[in-house]
């Protein structure tokens, strides 16, 4: 076996054996059960309210909630970053502190194997887990409501899971970046959590502030309101969690027709029907590419940082 895959194999084994991973799986599993339960209890009302959407009943399993517990989609958006951070925050610095990094690098392997293998291993674990959970919810929902998903619904769910993997791997890469930069695992974990909190709590607040401050006060024209709205939206989209929620909402709610403001002219004459899968995909294309780009930037930074570092034993 190629040395690269030897490292990947070991990393996966490490993840699977660790307590950390068990805890995360337990957490996500509870999430599944919880969100499925609340979806089940609200599904009846949700269906009777809008008949036009009844065709996409199965997707509702992932998006509706009775208000006591958030739906699956929100849970993944919330726990996904935690999962990514937990998988990556000690990727490099733990090896360094244990003194295994210098031993590893004195083997005949290229240096980037180490960081690439860490990323690939975590990505494999994350994908397997998210897909397993997604399919689990699907399976249990199938048993509970007895209506099989249409191929389109299935397709939407798969794309939802792919976007989720992408989102989690963004946080994973950010955590790996911090683990390369900071020598202490606790520092890097804290830094990653700080970024996560910033984007999920403070960033919307800040955007709100800016939006209020810059709102056109005099001579309000539709054009100025529209451009202001677009400016604010562009700001919110700097946050990866916003990108993720836009992308996944569109995937799981086919009735979402646009992610920006629509004028009356655009709505006039439109048939109030759900979008086909291809169109939904087109709609979230920028969001997905944005997430991918953010992930790539984080990885590139940690790669460069790691390649330039001097590896001495335990420091």
């Amino acid at each position: 076996m190629h040395p690269f895959w030897v490292i990947v194999q070991k990393e996966i084994a490490d993840h699977l054996r660790s307590w950390r991973f068990l805890i995360l799986v337990a957490l996500l599993f509870l999430t599944c059960i919880g969100s499925l339960y609340t979806a089940m209890s609200t599904l009846r009302e949700a269906v009777s309210k809008d008949d036009a959407q009844a065709a996409f009943l199965f997707l509702k399993l992932f998006t509706v909630s009775d208000g006591t517990l958030p739906p699956f989609i929100t849970f993944v958006g919330f726990l996904g970053p935690l999962f990514g951070i937990a998988m990556g925050f000690d990727a490099i610095n733990a090896e360094r502190n244990k003194g295994t990094l210098s031993r590893l690098l004195s083997q005949p392997i290229y240096r980037d194997y180490v960081i690439n293998a860490k990323f690939v291993a975590a990505l494999i674990v994350i994908s397997a887990l998210l897909f397993a959970l997604g399919f689990l919810v699907m399976g249990m929902g199938l048993i509970a409501i007895g209506i099989p998903p249409t191929p389109e619904e299935f397709g939407r769910l798969v794309f939802f899971l792919i976007v989720s993997v992408l989102y989690v791997s963004f946080w994973l890469n950010m955590a790996i970046l911090f683990s390369t930069r900071f020598r202490q695992a606790s520092t890097s974990a804290l830094a990653a959590i700080a970024v996560w909190l910033f984007f999920s709590v403070f960033y919307p607040l800040i955007v709100n502030l800016i939006a209020n401050a810059t709102f056109p006060k005099e001579a309000v024209t539709p054009d100025s309101v529209l451009s202001h709205q677009q400016f604010v939206q562009a700001l919110t989209r700097l946050s990866p969690s916003q990108l993720f929620s836009e992308a996944t909402t569109t995937m799981l709610t086919p009735s979402v027709r646009s992610l920006g403001p629509l004028t009356m002219e655009q709505i006039y004459g439109a048939i109030p029907s759900p979008l086909p899968l291809g169109q939904s995909l087109l709609l979230i294309w920028p969001q997905s590419v944005g997430l991918l780009a953010a992930t790539a930037v984080c990885f590139a930074l940690s790669y460069i940082l790691f390649m330039r570092q001097e590896i001495r034993s335990r420091n």
Binding site: I7, K98, G99, L101, R103, L105, S106, Q107, I109, I311
Partner: protein, 312 residues
């Protein structure tokens, strides 16, 4: 001279203004045990990292087994086993699994790797602990596991950075014996760095004295001692009582004696040649009782101290 295995030419490493290694040139032939000796922070580890291609030299070149360490690090690392100081293992894996991981990184199959790992664990005396997690190993056991880890790739050269740090004296003795034995049996070239003079002295064919990034002297221990102490080639230690002043005076005046140091009743006499018989005769005729008389060769300790006292 035998085929050179490690060749350093004008090797220099600078960190900002600080020169860690300063135009170091050194050649180590196949099969030799070479001790790189120096205080902490002398640049020993940096030199070793450059040999493995883990750090790039600022200028100069390193060749190990005919490969340039900076450009062909992979080829070098295939042939060189490196044991860092305070080596780390994956605590959650057993000793055997740790070795197996290294073996597979070196392209061995699982079966080959397991067989070789077991043989090596037996060799370093850890076969009973093979199934235990590496996290439970003591410092000495970790060091021996480290040696097995280094040998699993069947290297031509092994580089040990402070291999005896933190092990008890008995452990050190066994460990060094093992290295010596391996070197002789397998024809391994060994480079070990240390600031423990006595240990290095025990097993090294040659030593290099490395201070502040520069190699001050190279040679075997007696050679170094001649090179450094020149005329005062012999040190005689003796204990006499009552050790009168007149005895000391006549001792200092004796032909061939270059200096006398007195601590309590113990005298250290530096001489150009072996004058122990004369000293004994003098002591008896001066009415002193002679308790102990021994000739000592200058050890690395003295060599070392001489350097630092000299402020070089």
């Amino acid at each position: 001279m035998r085929e050179p295995v490690i060749v350093l030419e004008e090797l220099t490493k600078q960190y900002g203004d600080h020169v860690a290694v300063d135009h170091l040139s050194l050649t180590i032939p196949r099969g030799e045990i070479f001790g790189l000796l120096g205080p902490n922070g002398a640049g020993k580890s940096t030199t070793i990292l450059m040999m493995l291609g883990l750090t790039e030299p600022t200028s100069g070149s390193v060749h190990v087994c005919g490969h340039n360490s900076t450009r062909e690090a992979i080829e070098v690392k295939r042939k060189v086993g490196y044991l860092p100081d305070d080596v780390g293992f994956y605590d959650d894996l057993t000793g055997l699994e740790n070795l197996l991981f290294t073996a597979r990184l070196n392209g061995l199959s699982r079966e080959e790797g397991t067989a070789r790992a077991q043989a090596l664990l037996a060799r370093v005396g850890l076969e009973e602990h093979a199934g235990k997690k590496a996290g439970t190993y003591s410092r000495g056991m970790r060091q021996r596991l480290g040696l097995a880890d280094v040998l699993i790739k069947e290297p031509e050269v092994i580089i040990l950075d402070e291999p005896t740090l933190g092990i008890d004296p008995e452990g050190v003795r066994e460990f060094l014996k093992l290295i010596r034995q391996l070197s002789k049996e397998e024809g391994l070239t060994v480079l070990l760095s240390s600031h423990h003079l006595h240990q290095v002295q025990q097993i090294c064919d040659r030593v290099g004295l490395f201070v502040a990034g520069r190699l001050l002297a190279v040679g075997d221990v007696p050679g170094l001692s001649r090179q450094l102490f020149g005329q005062e080639a012999v040190l005689i230690e003796t204990r006499v009582s009552p050790c009168s002043d007149s005895f000391l005076e006549s001792l200092a005046a004796m032909d061939g004696v270059t200096g006398v140091d007195k601590t309590a009743n113990t005298l250290k006499i530096h001489a150009r040649r072996d004058v122990s018989a004369d000293i004994a005769r003098l002591a008896v005729s001066a009415g002193e009782s002679l308790h102990y008389l021994a000739q000592q060769e200058y050890g690395l300790d003295e060599i070392y101290h001489r350097y630092f006292e000299g402020g070089m």
